[in-house]
Symmetry: C2
Subunit: 418 residues, 2 copies
């Protein structure tokens, strides 16, 4: 392999373990200095390349890089930015090429979900089209767990664990109070198009009848009458009802429940908040006292309760990406291949970026219970190993120690305007 | 002391450590079998006494009782039920006396906040008025941290830790994304009348300028103009703004911000949800993209991230309550007395139930920053030791192991109707 520098960047919504992948990329690259010279991290994803804002990770100590493994969020900044096709925005690609050439960047590692793998794939095409030797490797990441070809996605296991633990804890609270107070608790979790995160709440169940009693998935069109019947029956049987709802829960016509036409004090349509909407619906129909929670960023940033499996896989995929590059692979993404459910065993596989980009993996029907309000044993078998193990960060003064890097930028070599 | 049985019950909103107090009460009573015969737990607080629904804790193994220390929520059920005065509802008191006599209950331990200590105090008066020898000891508990005479309240330290940790984590997330996406994050926390919980978010700060940038306390009347100015300035300086808001944040006239007149899809006034209200206000005035979270029960049930200090104190107060009773004390509540901030040292003190009942302790002015949007160094000195230390529950299959007791009821001796 020709020696060159590497560009690494984080893209899309961050997670509690994306920095563990960064740690895997940087630590592994440091072991291959004969091939990979410097590792530049893009400040705010691909924008760092476009704006020539390159963070010199060589300025960070081995200790700081190691601490990335235990630090949530995106240490170099992330972005929501999608490259157009080469035909549509040639200027943008020319700029990327100029920046790569100016800094002798020969390796491109892009850490993100479906949109980001599309970006990685386009950059790979750019290298080929412009006859510039560039090795492009995707590093999977998404709490939504919706990338194809990989058994799971780093970031998901930790959110799943957060949701399962929180559901178990909140359910105990409601059970204590239900005789004289709250009877219904609604927890809203992430998942705009796929119900993986909401489904993971089912791991809170130990014995039949345990909470969550109802899970509302985007994959199952919401039917008010049967939902209300189920809530009523659950409260009559158990004394209380715990509901976990995907932010993407929707009606048959694709309208989100959250777009229920509510207006706030300023007359604007209430955005988000499917939990209060569902809670209020129950109150209206059944009169039960309710509480609701919206976990939002708390769930995907919750490194304090990360899944050890997830952290390990996030690191391993970062490491594999560099090993793939060093081995001469190109335009691929390392994946997780499950070889056994129990005991849980996995290995690293690979998928072509061209096939990964922009494909969304939803929950299979076989994972959804017959009545649509829960998940099957098969789903739990799939989900359970992903939340296994705890990987606590160190603490100081009662709060976790998370690293903040120096993030020193490399001197620019190109015009700022382009 | 005359030998007799004990009644123990949990009252009001439960916490992640109220069962640690139960553990302290039961384990200590078991060491004093010469004085305390059986420990009956009320099913759903004082209602368990009124309904003669007495759980025989003697049926639980030492191991199950020990596991209470690591289990959130109220293992015996809790209630929101306030006894009227002896004059107003003599019938109710007569019933209590009948139940106590029927089961030879001579010790009464009531675990709760201000309202519950009022109940304990009334029961103490009952014993005296009816010439029935009854020893009444309160056991403090409330996430609101608003009981007087005690340095802090069990339950609070763990919520404080949850809020500090979650704020630090979510703030890192927002910081990663702010350049191209979310600029404002609003976290709503508990605290209807006192801002202790919101104030604890300040423990997420490590260096000046760290999140949370704004804390909205019920103690400080909300002023829209200065709030919006501060949000704008923070985003301009830092790139993003993290706000922690008490559910009880209010205007000068005492109206809650959450009662902002918003209507949901069903035309009902939107209940709760000050976080979305504040987020939408910012969007309207400044146009910033926002995210918001409402932690609700998740915060007070989060035993997985409990403060070791809090767990220890909850247990110690349960133990002290029994020791007080055995020592012949009556109509008192054990308290936490701080003897040193750094290193943190505390001991058990006591307060008369008659003085504790129905007094609410708000944040002192000296704990609130000059601009009203944060807390002072004195507040942090007070708060910091309360979140110190981790006390992780054991895990199985990726979720915490929490105990469910048998909760076997004692045979009734009295008519069900009374």
């Amino acid at each position: 392999m020709a020696k060159g520098n590497a560009f690494y960047a984080q893209s899309g919504g961050v997670t509690s373990v994306i920095n563990a992948s960064a740690c895997g990329v940087i630590e592994t690259a440091r072991k291959h200095r004969d091939v990979i010279g410097r590792v530049y991290a893009g400040r705010n994803g691909i924008l760092g390349a476009l704006n020539e804002e390159l963070i010199d990770t060589g300025k960070e100590s081995a200790r700081a890089i190691a601490a990335l493994r235990q630090t949530p969020s995106g240490a170099f900044g992330s972005c929501r930015y999608k490259l157009k096709s080469l035909e549509e925005n040639a200027r943008e690609y020319q700029r990327l090429l100029d920046v790569f050439k100016a800094h002798n960047i020969r390796y491109f590692f892009y850490n993100g979900g479906g949109d980001s793998q599309d970006t990685a794939n386009k950059v790979a095409q750019l290298g080929a089209a412009m006859d510039y030797p560039l090795t492009c490797i995707g590093v999977p990441k998404t709490v939504d767990n919706d990338l194809p070809f990989t058994d799971c996605c780093p970031g998901f296991g930790s959110v799943a664990k957060y949701v399962a633990v929180s559901t178990r804890e909140a359910a105990l609270d409601v059970a204590s109070m239900c005789e004289t107070s709250t009877k219904v608790f609604v927890l809203e979790v992430m998942g705009r198009h796929a119900g993986w995160i909401a489904a993971a709440a089912a791991l809170a169940q130990e014995t039949p009848g345990d909470a969550p009693h109802i899970i509302l998935l985007p994959e199952v069109p919401f039917q008010q009458a049967s939902f209300i019947r189920k809530v009523k029956k659950t409260v009559q049987q158990r004394g209380y009802c715990v509901i976990v709802v995907s932010e993407g829960a929707q009606y048959k016509d694709g309208t989100f429940l959250a777009d229920a036409g509510g207006k706030d004090a300023f007359g604007h349509t209430q955005l988000g908040g499917v939990a209060p909407m569902v809670a209020e619906l129950i109150k209206t129909k059944l009169g039960y006292k309710y509480h609701w929670a919206v976990a939002d960023y708390l769930q995907r940033a919750a490194r304090h309760i990360a899944s050890a499996t997830d952290v390990e896989q996030a690191y391993a995929l970062g490491r594999a990406a560099v090993e793939f590059a060093v081995a001469g692979k190109n335009a691929v993404m390392p994946t997780i291949v499950r070889t056994s459910d129990k005991p849980y065993r996995w290995k690293i596989g690979e998928a072509k970026l061209s096939r990964v980009a922009n494909v969304e993996r939803k929950m299979p029907r076989s994972f959804i219970s017959a009545d649509g309000f829960g998940v099957t044993a098969a789903a739990k078998r799939y989900l359970a190993p992903l939340i296994a193990g705890e990987d606590y960060p160190p603490y100081k003064n009662g709060v976790p120690v998370y690293v903040t890097l120096k993030n020193q930028l490399v001197a620019k070599k190109l015009p700022v305007k382009w």
